[in-house]
């Protein structure tokens, strides 16, 4: 194999060499960018991270008082809880809806209707998050106040509904691709065995497409964790340990977005915001790692 490759490379004309070099560069550049971003975020936060920050307090204390005059406290526990709770609630809504819609579009739609659905779903994915935030701030706020008789509608529930609406299109389009990729011969074989449509779906299609479906769910979740603007506008943006869907919360991302513009470059508060960035980086890394391991596990099975 190696010998073959070397032989063929020796014969490559000049233009091929240039193209290969360019493509190689494109491939490596994404690694360079990821490391570059991580390095930059880490450099900005490193000083305080290793010298002065109490990491235990940073992760477990709910007290976030970065601007207090005499006793600055940097506890992100409430923010971490906020991010995870709003994402979890959003996923509880988005996953069943998204997978259900994907099954409908892929298996029950006529081809014409399917095209219409796909266009609409892509449109939904293209709505900027600030617009979702605006809807949360105005429409959903009023709705929650009326339905739940709550004092204020800018809550975890509001934010997670917005996040769910944002991640559903991602889940639908990736899950639908995964279902469409299951060979028709599987459907025919199962149908010839007397399986009903629904039996074909949950006995054959879902197991056959589970890698793709898992990827769809995880990408939807990643979108939710990373989303900033909509949750900033819709969740009340108030540091608080959530006690239920109607509590107001604040997320890690929203904190960075709201406060980074108001800190002096290089001071403690500035550095802590970058440490939150490192924390987010770690969270997404762990989520991706788990996803990889799960998918690998499924493959080996």
């Amino acid at each position: 194999m190696n010998i073959l490759r070397k032989k063929s490379r020796a014969k490559l004309p000049f233009s091929e060499t240039v193209i290969e070099l360019f493509i190689r560069l494109c491939g490596f550049s994404c690694i360079i960018f990821v490391f570059g971003i991580f390095f930059f975020v880490f450099r900005e936060g490193a000083g305080f991270l290793f010298n002065g920050l109490d990491i235990g307090q940073f992760l477990t204390s709910p007290e976030w008082y970065p601007t207090s005059l005499n006793n600055k406290r940097y506890g992100t526990f409430a923010l971490i809880l906020g991010t995870f709770s709003v994402t979890a609630l959003a996923m509880c809504m988005a996953v069943p809806f998204g997978l259900g819609a994907a099954i409908f579009v892929s298996e029950f739609c006529s081809p014409k209707l399917r095209e219409t659905f796909k266009i609409v779903i892509e449109l939904l994915a293209a709505i900027p998050s600030v617009v979702w935030g605006f809807i949360g701030l105005t429409l959903m706020n009023q709705l929650i106040i009326r339905v739940f008789n709550a004092p204020i509608g800018l809550t975890m529930l509001n934010g997670s509904i917005m996040l769910a609406l944002m991640s559903v299109p991602i889940i639908v389009s990736i899950a639908e691709d995964a279902l469409k990729a299951v060979p028709d011969s599987y459907r025919e074989a199962a149908e010839a065995l007397g399986a009903t449509r629904w039996q074909v779906i949950y006995r054959v299609l879902l197991p056959a497409a589970k890698n793709g479906l898992l990827a769809a769910v995880l990408l939807g979740a990643a979108r939710s964790i990373g989303e900033t603007m909509a949750v900033l506008m819709a969740t009340g943006h108030s540091v608080n340990i959530p006690s239920g869907p109607l509590s107001w919360i604040r997320t890690l991302t929203a904190t960075i977005a709201a406060e980074l513009g108001e800190v002096a470059r290089g001071d403690e508060h500035y550095q802590v915001l970058f440490i939150i960035g490192i924390l987010l980086f770690t969270i997404t890394f762990v989520v991706n790692l788990i996803a990889d391991l799960v998918i690998k596990g499924i493959r080996q099975e």
Partner: protein
């Protein structure tokens, strides 16, 4: 001899392209009916009509009647029940992406069988019948798709037998497997003939000669001739085209 299937005036077309032209014939109980003919002669379409999977082809239209045990299959309300009365083996083996056990237990489960002991028994019986049990008995929980082509084809035969069909349809089952395995399956079919009616679509003329009680010759959607296999393969079948085809002059 009783008729298991009665086909009369069957016409099928895909869009404006005809696939079967006013075909009429009977299939006797417990016979192996060999169905031969070159490509595009309507053999596979015929099988799709019988288990009503033609309904999944959007542009297909059909006329005429097919009766199973004297009942027009298009009047049967429970189409899933109908499909379970008919075992279907397709040309390329399609192991469902499930374990060997689950592949065979698929149809019984779809029909509502839940008891583990009952499923165990069905799986073992069908794998024995398909001459696959000895090769897979110690790895029933591995993926069916990991088996070799010939083993997968026997797995699909086991699967087709799992719902105890009255009619077994085989569509060029030996296309993807070696001659030795083919011979083993042919032996299996001869045994199964005691219990069910078998429709054997094949491109191997000699296979029909070896196995079939009667043989039907299709050409371009027309049923040219159906008669006992001895007559079809004799020097004087009713049609010259039949003689030419079975003797390899064309096709």
């Amino acid at each position: 001899m009783a008729n298991k299937i009665e086909v009369s005036g069957l016409e099928v077309s895909y869009g404006d392209k005809p696939a079967l032209n006013r075909v009429s014939f009977d299939v006797h109980e417990n016979e192996i009916l060999g169905i031969i003919g070159p490509a595009q002669s309507g053999k596979t379409t015929l099988l799709k009509v019988i288990n009503r999977t033609l309904e999944f082809v959007p542009e297909a239209s059909m006329d005429g009647t097919v009766k199973l045990d004297g009942v027009d299959i298009n009047t049967i309300g429970d189409v899933y029940g109908l499909r379970r009365r008919i075992g279907m083996v397709l040309p390329l083996p399609v192991g469902l992406p499930l374990t060997i056990y689950d592949n065979v237990a698929f149809a019984p489960r779809a029909a509502g069988v839940r008891a583990k002991s009952e499923l165990d028994e069905i799986v073992e019986r069908c794998l024995h019948q398909a001459a696959l049990w000895d090769e897979v008995e110690d790895r029933l929980d591995t993926l069916g798709t990991k088996l070799s082509g010939g083993q997968q084809q026997r797995l699909t035969i086991a699967r087709a037998l799992s719902h105890q069909p009255e009619v077994l349809c085989l569509d060029e089952f030996s296309i993807a497997i070696d001659p030795v395995t083919t011979m083993r399956i042919e032996e299996v079919l001869k045994t199964l003939q005691q219990e069910m009616t078998i429709l054997l679509v094949t491109n191997l003329v000699q296979q029909a000669k070896r196995l079939a009680t009667r043989t039907a010759f299709f050409l371009n959607g027309d049923l040219i001739e159906i008669d006992s296999t001895d007559v079809i393969f004799s020097d004087q079948p009713a049609h010259q085209a039949t003689y030419d085809y079975v003797n390899g002059t064309f096709g």
